[in-house]
């Protein structure tokens, strides 16, 4: 993020904390692809991803006074979204979605759509934590240390999950 964009984000944050709804709406616009993206890439279900993303921003509205910077806001959003996703699959026993049923319109298109589809299917079949760590690694470009801080787990554990996920995918594709 550029210095100007960061200043605007901090400005929006300060205004939202003072009760400015337009500033809060601007924050939603700015971060919605991160929150919705994590939920969608983890769950492969647009409707549930939207529900989770709405809940996350509603929770942000209630907790906005506790956010002290743009980087804190970003960390908070990733952390709360990740927790909500894990809660969703643990408590609501979300059925595994067959990719034939999903709306792939939201998914980015690779040059080879068949390959993209196979890759998404393999990612969807990974265990929950591996899938979430993979999402944070490749969607958000976070390193193992940052992922560990987001999910509250040791860096070495993150590395181990990441290694297992990549090994499983390499077996399929190489």
């Amino acid at each position: 993020m550029t210095a100007f964009a960061e200043a605007t984000a901090d400005d929006n944050l300060a205004r939202a904390q003072a009760g400015d709804h337009d500033a809060f709406a601007a924050i939603i616009e700015q971060y919605q692809s991160i929150v919705f993206g994590i939920a969608y890439n983890f769950l492969s279900d647009r409707a549930v991803a939207e529900e989770i993303a709405q809940d996350v921003f509603l929770q942000l509205f209630r907790s906005i006074a506790a956010i002290h910077s743009e980087s804190h806001l970003l960390h908070w959003l990733r952390q709360v979204t990740s927790r909500r996703c894990i809660d969703q699959v643990r408590h609501h026993r979300l059925r595994r979605v067959d990719l034939d049923e999903t709306d792939l319109a939201a998914a980015p298109r690779l040059q080879d759509p068949l390959l993209a589809r196979r890759l998404r299917e393999r990612i969807a079949a990974l265990p929950d934590l591996q899938r979430l760590i993979l999402t944070l690694r490749y969607q958000e470009d976070l390193g193992p240390g940052d992922i560990g801080r987001t999910l509250g787990m040791p860096e070495n554990t993150v590395k181990s999950y990441l290694h297992r996920a990549l090994t499983a995918l390499r077996k399929e594709f190489q």
Binding site: R46, A53, F61, P108, L119, L169
Partner: protein, 95 residues
């Protein structure tokens, strides 16, 4: 195939359906109309008032119980005295 670059492509950030921010802001407005509408300071006063009310009810209730027990004890004492007097009267009649 470079797996890592394919993963970056497949797991890109995704925009939610159009109107997402409006839908969230509607929920925010609803939540403000319900419990969350009162500012923190006035909610604190409401909580204090409820706590004071409960304390008052407990105090009055306790005082009420105390008064009831006192009245019961007085009644028992009066009945004991009356019963003794009746016994004395019966003895006097027998004599």
């Amino acid at each position: 195939m470079n797996l890592e670059s394919e993963l970056r492509e497949v797991l890109k950030r995704v925009d939610p359906p159009d109107g997402f921010a409006d839908r969230v802001m509607r929920r925010v407005a609803w939540s403000r109309l319900s419990v969350g509408s009162a500012p923190a300071e006035s909610r604190r006063y409401v909580h204090r008032a409820i706590a004071a009310g409960i304390l008052l009810a407990v105090t009055i209730g306790g005082w009420g119980i105390h008064e009831t027990l006192r009245a019961r004890n007085e009644l028992l004492t009066a009945m004991r005295i009356a019963s003794q007097k009746v016994a004395h009267a019966q003895q006097a009649v027998r004599r």
